[in-house]
Amino acid sequence: MRPFRRRFAALLLLASLTAGCAETKAEEPASKNTAPLPSPNPSLSGTVTLGAVLPLTGTSATVGKDQQRGIELAVAKINAGKGVLGKRLAVAVEDSQGQTTATISAARKLVTTAKVPVVIGEYSSGNTIPLQQYLQQNSLVGINVGSSSIELRKTGSLQFSTIGLDDKVGEFSANTLFEKGYRKIAILAPNNAYGTGIARSVTDVFKKRGGGVAATALYTEGQPDYRQELKRLSGAGPDAYVVTTYGKDGATVNAEMFEQGMTKKPVFDIYMTQDVPDSDPKAVEGRTGMDVKSSVSGSDYESYYRRTYGGAFITSFSGFGYDAVQLAALAIDKAGTTDPKKIAAAIPEVARGYQGVTGPLAVGPDGQRLAQPYSLGTVRSGRIEFR
């Protein structure tokens, strides 16, 4: 090969990659802070560092970035006050990429390098369960801020959740659907611990009420299209579709439901802030659904968030991050140390009677939240309006 050709070929490769990378950087959303975060209390000295593993990239990045905002807001609030053990609080955030291997690598980094006593995260149950198992093996506290699989009840005595699990979501959704008059539903959920848990709990309660489930399709995440799964649902002729999807996969599912004419029938979306913000507004217009109550406007937390980021909640998940940091800080203060076992012992005590931004945070003996308030919402003009 002549040197000119070789150089030309190398140049082509380099130019293509540079063009792509340059374009990606331009796509990064600009920060829209409209008010600075509260200034830290100058009397605080030293730092207590916690860890967080969140999906900052990947299909669930929208939720991950919102969780990070909740953490950021809580840290600023705590540091503007009395801090933790008289020190500044910091949270080292690592990217899980929405993948299990990367989740564990990120946790390992936090455990070995930052030596944090508490790790907050992740979002997908398929990642949170192994994360909490890993933390339990290392005698560290884990606080789940986005996953709802009932398998999280079994991850260990040092593991907690600030979000209610699937049995509560399923019960609320199935009862709502039955009361709306639907008797035959078709369910679409991801084929993972979260999706199968939701599908099972909705099915159990809906059938107990006297309804029927015409079809259930569990989709594999990350596929280019989901038409086969959707055809299976539409072929069953249900009264309403029940969907629970997230991120860009959810956007693809929603677009294809619109294209196939499935949105002419009622669609009930479980955890609607997981997928509606990423979807084409035309595809989700008029859709009803449910989500956790932190997304309801009018609270102090909502104004704090709006003031800081210049807009309404993107998802319902920032509140869980906020509550997790507050809970961990209270527990560390109560324990008077950063010893993980003592923090874990203090969490149920401080959670009892503590009203978080997502509702009462009291946890049961399994470390899981006892009550989780939910809201019903409808998409109007591309935005979710909660009742």
């Binding site: 050709r5 990350g222 086969q228 294209e259």
Partner: protein, 291 residues
């Protein structure tokens, strides 16, 4: 029901066929199964995503195809030519490594979050009893046109004759005055271009992801092998065959028992195993006689 199955197979088969034809062309001329071939689909899709912020989608797509062709030629000159000098097995293993590197590079540049080419959502319409969206109809039309063009190029042009000559006997072609390296470069350009069209079509249906092309590895290899590696017509027929078998298997429902949709890649593989057992020379291949 039957119309819908055929329509689904046409849509799915069209994307598989574009990739399978490229794969089989490269194999036919170089006896090398290029695992990294799928990455030209991914690169074409991402190039279109990038260009769509500057140009309208058809222009962005054309630029994406040209860029994928350029990358195809560059990767051949820089990597595969050298790997092939060490033998087909080394080249095949090397192509797997190239595939992984390309996916990692795409992920590094664009992130793991799926990226979209701007498009308008359109409702499906009923055509002869099958529901198809206008974008699916365009996908089938563009694929068939690209396949027909490739077929015509191979059948009726001097370049096509040279490609067939190199595929039949590279040494004889060389002594007959055929510039083998130019022919191989043309084959790489055609293969990368067809793959890019497939990737862009897929991204237009949903979005571009780093594993967009790699996700089609099994059905594409199934189609190319079942069609008889090196046979373009066989690859096209087998692509639509694999897609039809997938559609039928997924639509089948016996007393409420059906194949889960996430088993779709396995269907193509079963198709491949059956073909290897019952017709190892491929659909249009001729059984070799050993004396």
């Amino acid at each position: 029901m039957t119309a819908q199955l055929i329509a689904d197979a046409l849509v799915r088969g069209s994307t598989i066929a574009l990739l399978a034809v490229g794969l089989t062309l490269v194999y036919g001329t170089m006896r090398f199964a290029n695992v990294a071939h799928m990455e030209f689909a991914t690169l074409g899709a991402y190039a279109t995503v990038t260009m769509s912020s500057v140009f309208i989608v058809p222009v962005a797509a054309a630029t994406g195809v040209l860029l994928a062709i350029a990358l195809g030629l560059a990767s051949y000159q820089l990597v595969f030519r050298r790997l092939l000098a060490k033998g087909e097995t080394s080249a095949m293993i090397g192509s797997l490594a190239v595939s992984i590197v390309v996916q990692a590079a795409v992920q590094l540049c664009y992130g793991t979050r799926p990226r979209e080419i701007p498009r308008e959502l359109e409702r499906a319409t009923s055509i002869l009893g099958a529901e198809l969206t206008p974008s699916q109809i365009r996908l089938v039309a563009v694929s068939l046109a690209a396949l027909a063009l490739t077929g015509a190029l191979l059948r009726w042009t001097p370049l096509g004759k040279k490609v067939r000559a190199v595929a039949a006997d590279p040494a004889l072609a060389r002594v007959s005055g055929v510039a083998e390296r130019r022919v191989i470069a043309a084959v790489w350009a055609i293969a990368a271009g067809l793959a890019a069209v497939s990737g862009i079509e897929l991204a237009l249906q949903s979005s571009a992801t780093p594993a967009l092309g790699f996700g089609l590895l099994l059905p594409v290899f199934s189609a190319a092998i079942v069609g008889g590696l090196g046979s373009v017509a066989g690859a096209v027929i087998a692509s639509y065959g694999v897609a039809l078998v997938e559609s039928i298997a997924l639509a089948a429902d016996v007393d409420g028992v059906s194949v889960p949709v996430n088993y779709r890649p396995a269907i193509g593989f079963v198709f491949l195993i059956l073909a290897l057992v019952f017709r190892p020379q491929g659909l249009l291949g001729v059984r070799a006689r050993h004396v």
